[in-house]
Subunit: 282 residues, 4 copies
């Protein structure tokens, strides 16, 4: 499984979050504390909104901690909204097309977790894609298939709704194959104007997910922390694992919950409930 | 498109064929003469039968000419039967899982050519695979799909028959999508006991394919060539493009033809005729 | 040998020059016309001034034509001053630390050409470096040694003068080893405020080097060319090989010449004359 | 720092030691127990004696645990004598030319440890190399410089003696630069006929080094262990960290000690004492 983070706020050099933060994502790639694996060395990915048309993507099979190009990019590119991901492969090959984020038009998609028994149901899931979306699946991860299924189901109009439909279907298909706890994970999604995050697992024991707390309150709590004092009130960070141990900085997103972050930092929270097909219920 | 070669004969160090032969495969990767592209720099692959269980595979995204590990492997591994491939990508990503040969159990598969309009029909072709074979497709090339379809259709019992079924079906599916000349290429197949090669294109203007001529005759023709004099009478080489300009060394395999090379060098030739579904004919 | 280009003018998306220009650098990596090699597939490098502190660097061992990250970076990063280089290795390994540009503080350095007999004189050249500059040589190319020697000799104060000193010394050392025509090439140098280019070879038959002509005149010549009409009057491009065949667009920089491009596009030209040690003259 | 292992005995498939052994080298690359770093994910190297002329080398910047080619090679290549190394870079770039083993003719060289303050003394050390050996240093590690210095000092005639001279000199040069504990590590060396290993550090607190015990005794101790029962009496393994927890299997090589393993498994042990220049002593 993996780690990911997302930033939505004032434009910052990517390195502020990726390299300079205590226990930041790149540091986590070597030594994670709360995750199931202790090393996330099977590739790095970065998607950012900024110059040019649509989001840019950087994906590499190098471990994040040794990738010289990632360090350069992070030190010289600014963005108001970006997602980054470090990977610990479980089964599928270490290759750029298996690195997150995945992209479609203006959309980016990251995932920490897995679809249990994916090899058994990959065919039955992909069959539901149109020829065009089917051809767009370039790698072999479960995540890329989830993303394309969600695109099929209207992700671009209603990302949370589309994910409820898709994760419900995956659970149905898995159950038909005798797989009990099909979905596990946290998801990050953006179109450049909003940032969505989902914490969900069939079993109800999901990977962790945190949002940064209200910046004003946190600054008061830690007047000595220079880096924190530079954070704007509207900046928001979502992480699969907290970056540091600062008290009050992180708010855990509850089980089976989706959050929407708006430009300006406002964040809404709603229950996330997969939609099951009637047939599967009967 | 690509270049490939296969060796079946006495065990040789791979470098004899890959690096030391005039106008050999690695040299061809930089400057091909008869192919459609002038550079095949999008990866290299090698599959060999020898030590261990089943064939070994080496695949790399480096251009063949600069891959230090390929050079090492070729200088230190001997094999009586191997296939090698240099790639010029046309659309699909440069990644190891898109490098030939593809492998399933004891079987190896290489291809020079393409399926026209593959993005449009990838879904309709892959849907015909079982869940298990579907999950075995790790990359995004047309070739890997052809190989898995052929496995579905009995490649392990009758490789040429399975390929006639599969290429026929691809032509049918393509035609239904308005694609006129779907299949182009030469194919190399082995299970470690035989070597098969197919030259075929829907259009009837196939990529080139050559077999080495009877060694006895060739040696007489070129008594001055030391390397040739070392070739055993039973050795056989199949190449998508001739290695050198030696007169009499290469026999062109005709259009729409399949050849079977047996251990000991005997080679049979037969017409290759794709099988079309009755519905598609009607 | 290699190809390189430099841009100094209004900020542009890198892809305008790297990918969208007819016969641009990436296209040249596959098929060069005037160079000694037909393929420059042994790595790509890019150095740009823009966001962050000092120039950013992207270096990859993938051929430029298939490097997905280069394409992304070029489509999403803007810069008023950048250098890019495609490599055809001659002897030294294909690795990121052998890709140009080389960097030291704010300085970038690229080279198309070679030091003849470099293996024989590498030691004698590097011995002249301070311990600190010696430790800064991370790869194994002749170019990186030339750059560090020039840093030793005051490149940061007088780049052209330092290069005259260094190339003279290399010729002296080479001659002492019986190497007649030691230096070959064109060089590109920048500190973010100026752009320098040198065309020089011991033999007097240097690799080509071109500067873009006065934009106003060129636009008049080709009123139909949309891309040209967008070029600002102050933009300047230096290339080892012309990008396109547009008449009047390129001005060849003469043999043994150094040019200095100032912000605003003004370009000076001066003779380039290596300085030889008295001992070597005697 | 790193981990390494060496095998000298009956020919085995490399995977027996690299992948199939409990807590073997590849497993160690992810989770080491006794080393200073918890992850060795900065490249893998393998040098083996077998087919072809001299040792073959495989080096890759991928982490060992995810390198598909390493797994293939290990499953299909047999060797009676090989060394393998997993790297945790400390400062120098992750690139193939920085992966161990290093090779010169028939000689292979691996190292777990470091030269403290290497950047400060790299120049003074390398200056002592001949032009030819200087040019042979392709990467930027301390280890490659140690190896080439040892070649300068007669490694091919007396490997332990040459290493005593070289490590003594490094200590002298370092001391002159105010570096107190210059050398740390264990070294593995082979010419295909013998295997040497050294455990030494200036400080006298060296990285661990173990040899496999007499096979006969170990088999009696663990009659239930099938893999152990297959080991021949003459097989010998040297490791920087024990592979498993089997009681009695591993003999720790003491501080400041060099061992020589002869064909047939006989192993001699001798004190290792760096030789210091008189000047440095004065």
């Amino acid at each position: 499984m993996c780690r990911w983070m997302a930033w939505f706020g004032e434009p910052v050099l990517l390195e502020e979050l990726l390299f300079k933060t205590q226990h930041g994502l790149v540091d986590q790639s070597l030594h994670s504390r709360m995750g199931a694996e202790t090393t996330n060395g099977d590739g790095i990915g970065l998607g950012w909104y900024g110059g040019g048309d649509g989001p840019g993507i950087y994906r590499s099979v190098s471990p994040a901690w040794s990738d010289a190009n990632l360090r350069e990019l992070a030190a010289h590119v600014e963005s108001p909204l970006f997602l980054s991901h470090v990977r610990a492969a479980i089964g599928s090959p270490v290759q750029e097309t298996n690195c997150h984020p995945f992209r479609h038009g203006r959309w980016l998609f990251v995932h920490n977790g897995f679809v249990d028994g994916f090899a058994k149901i990959r065919r039955d899931l992909m069959v539901e894609l149109s020829a065009e979306l089917f051809a767009g699946v370039q790698g072999s991860t479960d995540t890329e298939v989830i993303f394309h299924l969600a695109l099929s189901e209207g992700l671009e109009d209603d990302p949370i709704g589309a994910m409820e439909t898709v994760l419900g279907r995956i659970e149905d298909v898995a159950e038909a194959h005798g797989i009990a706890n099909a979905v596990q994970g946290s998801f990050g999604i953006s179109d450049g104007d909003h940032l969505w995050a989902i914490r969900y697992s069939t079993e109800g024991k999901s990977r962790s997910l945190f949002a940064s707390a209200d910046a004003v309150a946190v600054k008061k709590l830690h007047p000595e922390n220079e880096r924190l004092q530079r954070v704007h009130d509207n900046d928001r960070v979502i992480v699969s694992e907290p970056f540091s141990d600062l008290e009050g900085l992180w708010v855990e997103i509850p089980e089976s919950t989706a959050v929407t972050v708006h430009r300006g930092g406002a964040m809404e929270q709603a229950p996330f409930t997969p939609v099951h097909a009637p047939a599967a219920v009967a």
